[in-house]
């Protein structure tokens, strides 16, 4: 393993901003069977994503030390991009609040976060596979899932290599334009978003689940040589299989079903209480049979906010 500073930017007053990458290669890099880049922490709330990526670095380093032939592909792992954000509890670039993950492919003569994106992307271009570990931008607890953007360059078959239960295949939306995942696909890297975890929290079970998925993927594309249990036969779902269940009222939200639960139409999913007098404002019921994939994860809920996301067999 070699460690590289991929981005280095002076700060007016504090320590320099540095993005570190960990590179694993076969003994002869020309012998690499494939190449994979894995990037986490594009925003400073993605603690679970940073931790999972760092655990993968540790796993690969340990196994490479034990077996010089363990690494068979060219692998780059970047556990944390917005390190300044992590150290301040800030999601975005702390000075101007811009989202680094909306700045790709970047611009070397542009604003600061455009330059960060540019310098980073120069190191991320050209990989056969690209995996972005990310959280949801809203307040949800979700089953880990894979996201594919309909770009003409996504690989649905290889999505199953992760062995996750679900992969969400959706159309491009304008806000994808500056994301790493989308720009990878523009540069012909087969890219995935691996979405999991809650903002600013780390759950050990989820970390291990994601770590397993990443190791399984690396093994199946030929980047590492190891044995691992098979995962799920991944279901690739589209929007028409998803049911959104909003809360009709605002107040204190009490979820009564967890992600991963199968529920039947009419089952109680949660309650919304009046925040001040404690009365029940609403009971939320399942409108269809299906699997709970996400639920709202904050005690206060706004009116018409999606409380649950379910998927059903269509």
């Amino acid at each position: 393993m070699t460690r590289h500073t991929l981005v280095n930017l002076a700060s007016p007053c504090r320590d320099a901003f540095r993005v570190e990458g960990f590179r694993f290669s076969p003994r002869q890099r020309n012998d690499a069977d494939t190449s994979v880049a894995i990037v986490a922490g594009l925003n400073g709330h993605e603690l679970a994503q940073m931790h999972a990526a760092a655990q993968l670095v540790s796993f690969l380093q340990t196994h490479q030390a034990e077996d010089p032939n363990f690494i068979t592909g060219d692998i780059l792992i970047v556990p944390a991009v917005n390190t300044f954000g992590f150290n301040m509890g800030e999601r975005h670039w702390p000075l101007d609040k811009t989202d680094i993950n909306a700045m790709f492919p970047g611009f070397d003569q542009g604003e600061t976060s455009q330059r960060i994106a540019h310098h980073l992307f120069e190191h991320l271009k050209g990989f056969e596979w690209g995996i972005e570990l990310e959280d949801r931008r809203d307040q949800y607890d979700c089953m880990p899932y894979l996201r594919m953007i309909n770009s003409g360059f996504e690989d649905k078959k290889a999505a199953s290599y992760f062995g996750l239960q679900f992969a969400h295949h959706r159309d491009f939306v304008p806000s994808d334009a500056g994301s790493l995942q989308y720009n990878w696909s523009v540069w012909h890297t087969k890219s995935y978003g691996l979405v999991f975890g809650n903002k600013q929290q780390i759950d050990n079970n989820t970390t291990h689940q994601v770590l397993d998925a990443l190791i399984r993927f690396l093994a199946k594309v030929g980047a590492i040589r190891t044995k691992i249990f098979e995962g799920y036969a991944t279901n690739v779902i589209t929007q028409d299989a998803i049911t959104l269940i909003p809360s009709q009222r605002a107040g204190v939200f009490e979820p009564r079903q967890r992600v991963g639960n199968f529920v039947k139409k009419g089952d109680l999913l949660g309650k919304v209480f009046d925040a001040l007098d404690g009365s029940i404002r609403e009971k939320i019921y399942a409108p269809v049979d299906g699997l709970i994939t996400c639920h709202y994860h904050y005690p206060l809920i706004y009116q018409n906010t999606i409380a649950y996301r379910m998927i059903s067999i269509v």
Binding site: S11, P12, D96, K97, S175, A275, Y302
Partner: protein, 316 residues
């Protein structure tokens, strides 16, 4: 007439309300049928537009006999942000002007965006007033996506602004309020000037004159048009960007809004510890300095200034 168009319940004892102040002729037979919407406050750290709309409302109350159409005023779309100096929608940290047209069945900011579009669509003209952010001071200008230049530039010239900037269509800007309204047939102008969190009353008065002139020329106000300035037009020149070459504290050496020539000193970037010599920032070409850094702390890449090199001589 003050109306509440959208009400979204908040979790603890409050609702978000989208309000507008509508002016129509006291005698409905005088209504020529045109409708204009003036909006501001998409970003909660921008208050220049609120000031203009306030002055406009006060003018319309005194001059209600001149109204010949429907004039809708929306001073603070992101009212939670305005009341807390928060650029984005509080709690969600979402830029409201990057999620239009919104969705009635999605997050609170998406519901806001959906309700705003539903309220304004159908207007013949809309003016979306922005200040700059807290980092930059801007000359009064109208920004127009190239796709809509043909229909919008003639309107923009009536607004008494100093600069009309027609820019390339960028995919991410398809999620702005202006793009949504333009695509729905409401000719929408984006005005930007001043600086975040502050008022520039002279610029506000300049825009007020422009809005009154536009409404007069469109027959929405029964009055003579007003004399307005001829703006610089970006199609007839070149825009230079000057980004910080180093991190530090930027100290300007010139005032905003002046004519500059090539290789002129804009300011220095100083090292707060004084180890490194100050780094000069120079103009790459001649023109009008229409954007200047207001907030002094910079990283490499922070925007310092923008200059418009006018080829027609209008700006000289």
């Amino acid at each position: 007439m003050l109306e509440t168009l959208v009400t979204i319940e908040l979790p603890v004892g409050e609702s978000y309300q989208l309000k507008r102040h509508r002016f129509t002729p006291t005698d409905e037979s005088l209504n020529h049928g045109k409708r204009i919407s003036i909006v501001s406050g998409t970003h909660g750290d921008e208050v220049e537009g609120i000031y203009v709309i306030t002055m406009l409302a006060e003018w319309l109350k005194v001059n209600s006999d001149k109204v010949r159409g429907t004039i809708d005023l929306y001073p603070s779309l992101n009212s939670l942000g305005i009341d807390s100096i928060t650029r984005t929608v509080p709690f969600y940290q979402v830029d409201l002007n990057r999620i239009f047209p919104g969705n009635a069945r999605d997050t609170f900011p998406n519901q806001m965006a959906f309700g705003i579009v539903e309220a304004i669509k159908g207007s013949d003209i809309a003016i979306d007033i922005h200040a700059s952010n807290i980092f930059l001071r801007e000359l009064p200008q109208v920004r127009i996506a190239a796709t809509y230049a043909e229909s919008l530039v003639p309107l923009a010239k009536k607004l008494n602004m100093d600069f009309i900037w027609v820019h390339d269509a960028i995919t991410v800007l398809e999620a702005t309020l202006a793009h949504s309204l333009n695509s729905l047939g409401t000719r929408t102008l984006v005005v930007e000037y001043g600086v975040g969190m502050r008022l520039t009353p002279s610029y506000g008065q300049q825009l007020l004159t422009g809005i009154l002139n536009l409404m007069a020329s469109e027959g929405i106000l029964a009055m003579d048009t007003l004399p307005v300035r001829e703006p610089c037009y970006s199609d007839h020149g070149k825009v230079y960007y000057i980004n910080a070459p180093a991190a530090g504290i930027f100290v300007p050496a010139m005032d905003h809004c002046q004519l500059v020539h090539a290789e002129q000193l804009i300011g220095h970037i100083h090292d707060p510890y004084g180890v490194h010599d100050p780094v000069p920032c120079l103009t790459p070409g001649r023109g009008v300095l229409f954007t200047l850094r207001e907030y002094p702390i910079v990283y490499e890449g922070s925007l310092i200034a923008r200059i418009f090199d006018d080829q027609t001589g209008v700006c000289q």
